[in-house]
């Protein structure tokens, strides 16, 4: 059995789904955020796998960029979370339902 890039992509798909399930099922904002990070990681894995399949270095370059962006996003996201927590003293996402209707 040769380990082609397809295996990595399959694994990445599974990780992605688990991350998606985490977003949908958990109520703690932090855990939701972490699930999103997991999804980003899975995508990264797919990028690198595809790059190695096609023989292009751009797969890895893309993965790098994703990491950069994810880092920036985490910064801001957590800052927002902290600000929200200060107002409402809860990390429960369901409480933030002001857009209802």
């Amino acid at each position: 059995m040769i380990l082609t890039a397809g295996w990595y992509m399959a694994l990445a798909a599974v990780l992605f789904s688990i991350g998606a399930a985490g977003v949908l099922v958990r109520r703690n904002a932090l855990v939701m955020f972490m699930s999103i990070e997991l999804m980003l990681n899975a995508v990264n894995l797919t990028f690198v796998a595809a790059g190695s399949e096609m023989g292009l270095i751009e797969g890895q370059v893309a993965a790098l960029f994703v990491i950069v962006v994810a880092a920036a996003e985490v910064t801001i996201g957590l800052a927002i979370l902290v600000a929200v927590f200060r107002r409402r003293s809860t990390a429960n996402v369901d409480e933030l339902a002001a857009l209802k209707g």
Binding site: L24, V25, L96, A97, L99, K100
Partner: protein
């Protein structure tokens, strides 16, 4: 030269459009002058174009304007032949005089400009009707005069009576128009065209007697409506709600004569259907007598004249019914003169008495309004049929032709003579009540002669009413010769030969004198009350209006009411509203998806992506 014929129609149309739109701006009295001038120019053109026809230097000619309905092969074209020129002269000539009269009569009305716009519209419509070269264009004119009539009858629409009268006229006319339209359809089915020339040339060979009878009867239904014969006459007395110039122009001189013109024009078709002719003549004679009885009991001066018009129209219809087409048209012309004169004079009287129309409150006006009085005397004598005024010649020609037509028609002749007696009676009654005796009007009213603008047309019409007989005396049938080219292939009923004519004329004259004398002896001394019995019944129109109301109008109203409430409100509005309600409820149910929870939105997103992937998978055949 012949190219000027369309100008005849276009000029008043332009006047109508301009005055209806800008009438308020143009204002008094220029609207009136413009309108009168346009009609006057029309008269001059018509006269100019008639002279060559009289001397025989030109022939009848069709003028093509444009293709109107290519699918049916209908052209918009006009015909200039003796009959058309005859009618055009009457319409523009009498129309011009009435326009001038109206400039003075309508003084002070706040919709002055619009009035003259409508009057010009009417002249244009009537000219379209009489100048048409085919039945389709005639129908356009037919409908347009109906429209103008409606607009003018209900001119003072603030009065509920006027609005109702306009509506009644239009609706009753519609019944006639239905018959006319079905007749037109039959003509097209039989001939494949509406063109007069083609239809009249081919009729003797193409039409069976049955088809001809059907067509002519249906066309006659249209004439019954437009020319106010039994049973569709009920709109004409109510039409007196319109201003008096309108009554004079439309409901005496011109529009109501459209039916007669139509039958005369289609003489070829009518000669192929003897059964219809019997019907026509009978209806005409019956109407002449019936309306005369009703005229005897009226108190309103205009309503007397209205019923008188119906009665005289009956004479014209009787004439064409016995195929004396020229006689009928001759009476049409003389009637236009003296009836317009009577209406305009009545208008002057009403004007001077500040709107009083009940004759029993008039009287003694002969000294105060001399011009009006003497011109109306001329008209009175003319309509009564006193020799040598025009009415005598035309009426007697009709009666003589009826007598000579056949045994059945002698009965109609007798009816006509009886109607003549009654005509003389009620006209004398009118004159005596209005002008004779002492004044009975309320205090504070000071009647005086009408202004010159109004009296000049009266004088001109009086002259015409007096001398017009000269154009078709039995010794020199001028009109008949002139109209001959229009009646090619038609045998017209002639009066009986020799001395019989004189004898018949004498009988008619005796009837006239008896009528005048009867009225004179009754009304010269004291004015009877006339509130009971026959007088009351005649005043009420013998209850015919109530009858129609109960059996014709009420069911129609019920259907309209049902349609408005059940059909319109419940069904149609319900349908539209339910669509709105459905959309709204759909929206409300959709708003349940906006829960405000992020995770819910996320779930929906993932589900959506899943669905798309699934669809791609299935359609792409990756399984």
């Amino acid at each position: 030269m012949i190219d000027l014929v369309p100008v005849l129609v276009v000029l008043p149309l332009i006047g109508a459009a301009t005055l209806i739109i800008f009438g308020k701006r143009i204002g008094e009295p220029w609207s009136g002058w413009v309108a009168s001038a346009l009609v006057g120019v029309g008269f001059v053109i018509a006269a100019g174009l008639t002279v060559p026809l009289i001397s025989g230097t030109t022939e009848s000619e069709s003028i093509q304007l444009f293709t109107w309905i290519p699918g049916l092969g209908v052209e918009a074209s006009l015909l200039w032949d003796p009959l058309a020129s005859f009618m055009a002269l009457i319409v523009t000539g009498v129309g011009f005089l009435i326009h001038v009269y109206a400039v003075g009569y309508m003084h002070g009305d706040e919709r002055y400009g619009r009035f003259f716009g409508y009057m010009n519209l009417f002249i244009a419509s009537m000219l379209i009707l009489v100048l048409a070269d085919n039945f389709a264009v005639m129908f356009v004119g037919w409908e347009l005069v109906g429209l103008s009539s409606y607009l003018l009858i209900s001119f003072w629409f603030i009065r509920p009576a006027a609005a109702a009268a306009g509506k009644k006229a239009f609706i009753v006319n519609r019944i006639g128009d239905w018959g006319f339209l079905v007749g037109l359809m039959l003509i097209f089915a039989a001939f494949g065209t509406f063109n007069y020339g083609t239809v009249f040339d081919e009729a003797p060979t193409v039409l069976s007697e049955g088809t001809a009878t059907a067509i002519t009867l249906l066309l006659f239904v249209g004439a019954v409506g437009k020319s106010a014969q039994i049973p569709l006459y009920v709109w004409l007395p109510d039409a007196m709600e319109g201003p008096t110039p309108v009554s004079a122009l439309i409901h005496a001189a011109t529009m109501v004569t459209a039916g007669i013109y139509m039958i005369a024009r289609s003489a070829v078709l009518y000669e192929l259907a003897p059964a219809t002719l019997v019907v026509v003549a009978t209806v005409g004679a019956a109407t002449a007598f019936y309306a005369a009885t009703l005229a005897m009991g009226q108190r309103d001066i205009k309503r007397v004249l209205a019923y008188s018009t119906i009665s005289q129209l009956g004479y014209m219809v009787m004439a064409v019914g016995v195929t004396a087409f020229t006689a009928g048209l001759f009476h049409l012309m003389t009637h236009a003169f003296f009836k317009a004169l009577l209406f305009l004079g009545a208008g002057a009287v009403i004007h001077s008495l500040a709107g009083e129309q009940d004759m029993f409150r008039m009287g003694g006006l002969r000294k105060l309004m001399p011009v009006t009085f003497w011109t109306m005397v001329v008209a009175w004598l003319a309509i009564a049929g006193v020799v040598p005024l025009s009415g005598f010649w035309s009426k007697d020609e009709i009666l003589a032709a009826a007598f000579a037509h056949g045994p059945y028609f002698i009965v109609l002749w007798a009816v006509g003579v009886a109607a003549a007696l009654l005509t003389a009676f009620y006209m004398t009654r009118l004159m005596l009540l209005t002008f004779g005796g002492e004044g009975r009007w309320p205090d504070g009213v000071e009647p005086e002669e009408a202004p010159t603008l109004m009296t000049v047309p009266l004088v001109i019409l009086a002259v015409l009413a007096a001398i017009a007989g000269i154009w078709n005396t039995p010794w020199r049938l001028g009109l008949e010769h002139f109209l001959e080219p229009s009646f090619e292939g038609v045998t017209q009923q002639q009066p009986p030969e020799g001395q019989a004519v004189v004898g018949l004329a004498l009988i008619a004259l005796v009837a006239t004198v008896m009528g005048i004398f009867g009225a004179w002896s009754r009304y010269n001394k004291a004015i009877p009350a006339e509130r009971s019995g026959f007088w009351k019944a005649a005043l009420n129109g013998y209850g015919i209006d109530e009858l129609y109301g109960k059996y014709a109008v009420a069911p129609g109203r019920a259907i309209a009411g049902w349609t408005a409430t059940v059909l319109d409100q419940n069904v149609i509005d319900g349908l539209v509203n339910s669509v709105g309600r459905g959309v709204k409820s759909f929206g409300v149910s959709m708003s349940d998806t906006q829960t405000g929870w992020v995770r819910w939105y996320g779930a929906i997103m993932v589900a959506g992506t899943f669905a798309v992937l699934l669809w791609l998978l299935l359609s792409g055949g990756l399984f």
